[in-house]
């Protein structure tokens, strides 16, 4: 029995049986690349449906299947999302997001912005790590040091994700001063996201093998990790949130093959897993299973490079706008996702108050208007079109989306040659700017800045991908937004920056997809987290 998310109003594409099946390609799971951190504050709308609540029962073990192996569970320097899946129940940070991405106190009871480059954090008293040690300011100082310089097995490749933190000092036993190199509004969201900011006991790296073990303050204690196999947790009886957790134990079993996860679900060998939309929907009528879905930050987009010394057709803004308005996103949503996706700007829907409204996107910035698109092409002297090679990930839905975009752009006489690439190859070419167009996906960010900073000349990739791109109005907004610490003032800045980027796009945002997870009926309280983590497992219980 499936549970549709009543709080969402999916787009209403044209009716009729549409030819999705010919777009389906069997693919393995592909992890989308790393993301920049940022802060998120204020009310959020990423509400997702969860399993129907029954009276809470304590005890039992839940077995959850992961689609990728964590590789290691070190707290810092972990670039893979799956790495965070493996360790997320062992650790907490200074603040946290609730399921609607509202920032809430966590290990810190409160924080105070003393100046533009100084934040004081007041820690809660009496919080214990899994080894019995009490959390103090010294632990936070140690943790911040590791965030800035993650030792092996972590990678320093994560340090660009860290905001402008200079360091931390212990003011007293429970008060920490966080020093910034420059005003940086991303800090709060960076800690709330938690992916790169767990708090660990001082000296952790000298005490245990962090690749295989964890000591944190989280609701579950890690008792074992076998790479390519599973992670084992038991309940933390001294967890700082009274009454939690409900379960005795969690096992995270790595099962990369989707059909194996389906078989294990049907047989009751696992209690839940993430599945693709088609497979999840095929289980809607299985009596023992519940299909959950929720919005996801991973929106799809078409990237272009605008490099020095090249004279490509899309260097002309009119051509880029023609592509923007020549793509029929409703068609993509229906043909690839059976209606289960939404229009997305540069900030995906559901990411707090920051995205532009669906109406604004559909009626103006992402409006499908073939007549206008053709006119723009003609004005640019390209009525006869041009040829371009577009690369994409070889897995997931990317080939299908690419195929639909290819067929749509034919109407503008743009001949798109699709080249699907294995993830490592795609990542290498993408990072080096060795592409004309590519179709890729974004991911979660800790702060809204993470979705727009790449368009600013200060960004490293700007110099590689589009050094010839100009958008002064957007740049001004992006620069001001990062140093404005008042969320109320930041909101209009970033929304205007999005509008300017959409009026002069260098990337073409397409659609935001939904994430599906299927659980056995006995699992209660689970929800699909917007962040792409399995945060819902922290608070689940078993009914029967």
């Amino acid at each position: 029995m499936s549970k549709d998310n009543a709080s969402e109003a999916p787009d209403s594409p044209r009716a009729g049986e549409l030819n999705r099946r010919e777009l389906l390609v069997k693919a393995g799971a592909v992890g989308v690349g790393a993301v920049a951190a940022g802060s998120l504050a204020g009310g959020a709308k990423a509400a997702t449906r969860r399993t129907r609540a029954t009276p809470i029962k304590r005890g039992g073990r839940i077995i959850w299947a992961l689609e990728s192996d964590p590789v290691h569970v070190a707290p810092y320097g972990q670039i893979l999302t799956s790495g965070h899946w493996g360790k997320e129940f062992a650790y907490d940070s200074l603040v946290e997001w609730d399921r609607n991405l509202n920032v809430k106190p966590a290990l810190a009871a409160s924080f105070k912005i003393v100046s533009k480059t100084e934040i004081l954090w007041n820690l809660k008293k009496g919080i214990k790590f899994h080894n019995g040690k009490e959390l103090t300011a010294d632990d936070v100082v140690y943790s911040v040091g590791k965030m800035l310089n993650p030792p092996l097995p972590g990678s320093i490749s994560t340090t660009p994700q860290v905001p402008s933190i200079a360091g931390a000092d212990a003011v007293s036993k429970y008060v920490v001063r966080l020093r910034l190199k420059a005003p940086d509004a991303r800090v709060i969201g960076f800690f709330a996201w938690g992916r790169y900011a767990p708090i660990v006991p001082e000296g952790l790296y000298d005490q245990i093998n962090v690749a295989r073990n964890a000591i944190g303050t989280g609701p579950y204690k890690m008792v074992g990790f076998n790479p390519n196999d599973r992670v084992e947790y038991v309940a933390n009886q001294s967890f700082w949130k009274t009454g939690l957790p409900y379960m005795d134990a969690i096992t995270l079993k790595t099962l990369p093959d989707e059909q194996a996860r389906v078989a294990a679900l049907r047989a009751g060998a696992i209690d839940g897993a993430t599945l693709s939309v088609d497979v999840a929907r095929s289980l809607a009528n299985v009596s023992d299973l519940t299909v959950l879905k929720g919005p996801n930050a991973a929106f799809r987009e078409l990237q272009m490079t605008i490099k020095v010394g090249e004279d490509k057709p899309w260097h002309d803004q009119r051509v880029r706008l023609a592509v923007m308005h020549g793509i029929n996103r409703a068609d993509i949503i229906q043909r690839v996702y059976s209606g289960e996706a939404e229009y997305s700007g540069f900030v995906p829907p559901g990411y707090g108050p920051w995205p532009l409204t669906d109406a604004e996107l559909k009626q103006k910035y992402l409006k499908f208007d073939l007549v206008m698109a053709k006119k723009l092409m003609a004005d640019a002297g390209l009525a006869k079109g041009f040829s371009v090679t577009m690369t994409c990930f070889a897995g997931q839905d990317y080939p299908q989306v690419s195929a639909v975009v290819q067929s749509q752009l034919k109407k503008l006489n743009i001949d798109v040659n699709i080249v699907a690439q294995e993830s490592g190859t795609f990542g290498a070419n993408n990072g080096a700017g060795r592409f004309d167009w590519d179709l890729t996906g974004r991911g979660m960010r800790g702060d809204v800045d993470g979705y727009v900073s790449e368009f600013h000349p200060a960004a490293a990739n700007f110099k590689i991908w589009y050094p010839e791109y100009r958008n002064v109005k957007a740049w001004r907004g992006i620069g001001n937004g990062r140093i404005e610490l008042d969320p109320a003032k930041r909101l209009p800045i970033y929304q205007e920056a999005q509008r300017q980027l959409l009026l002069n796009p260098v990337q073409i945002p397409l659609v935001a997809i939904k994430k599906y997870q299927v659980v056995r009926k006995r699992v209660q309280g689970m929800y699909v987290a917007y962040s792409d983590f399995n945060s819902g497992l922290r608070n689940v219980w078993l009914d029967g």
Partner: protein, 316 residues
Amino acid sequence: MGGYILKRILFAIPTLIGVTIGIFLMVRLLPGDIIDILFGGDLNASEEVKDKARAQLGLTGSYPEQYWRWISGVFQGDLGFSLRNTEPVSDIILGALPITLELVFLGLLIAVIVGVPLGVISAVKRDSAHDYAARVGGLVGVSIPSFWLATLLLLFTSRAFGWVPPLNYTAPWDDPIANLSQFILPAISISVFTLAIVMRMVRATMLEVLGQDYVRTARAKGVNRRTVVSKHALRNALIPVITIVGFEIGVLIGGAAIVEIIFGLPGIGYVLLQAIFGRDYPVIQAATLLIAFTFIFANLLVDILYGVVDPRISQE
């Protein structure tokens, strides 16, 4: 025989060195290196940060320098450390190897125990219904991809019986029943192709042997049919089977990767595949070296067994 074995071992050494050079270069020719993987999608990484990451992972120096660092470690028993999680590669390989060895052993056991009798029956009862059924079955067996069969078996057992193999690995000496129940489906999946080949090969050689003069002589002397088949004909018909089994050991060590992934068995193939996706060079190099070594050793074993099974070969 001793001189022959020594000669084969000496020939194996340059082969293995060639394999190490080949795999060392091949992984580095793949588009993208581990730095690209680690920084993939990162929008703010400068070249300076990437260079620091290279130094952190020991990827500095020319290719010959990197190769020498690695190969000199191998000769000292040090396979290096994983670039992804800094675990000793030897630990990773030793943790995965028993799983794959057991899977391959069971798969080959099924293939031989079922394939040989089927081949014999098919040959002895030539052109009968049994023969036709076995031949059609053999054709189907060589046509079915093992990963497809693995998925089919999993979905069938989950739907029909509400059962899938246990997800957590249990060593055979800890709980033989749990271990067998975990390995039986994946073993069947990888055995079918080899089973079909063995069956067809045994049938073909049995037919040839059964037509030999000495077999006709034995029959004429009144030796019963069962003794003629099992004692006189089968031994000669098994020689090609030894070849197949030896060859398949090497193939399956790495080739069972997809089946391992489907059943969640963290064996060598699984480890190697993940290492390739993650550009984890030390693990790729070590796992490939192991597979090459297994191939060479298995073929040497086959050649030795030939001498045991066929005295004419050992005399030569």
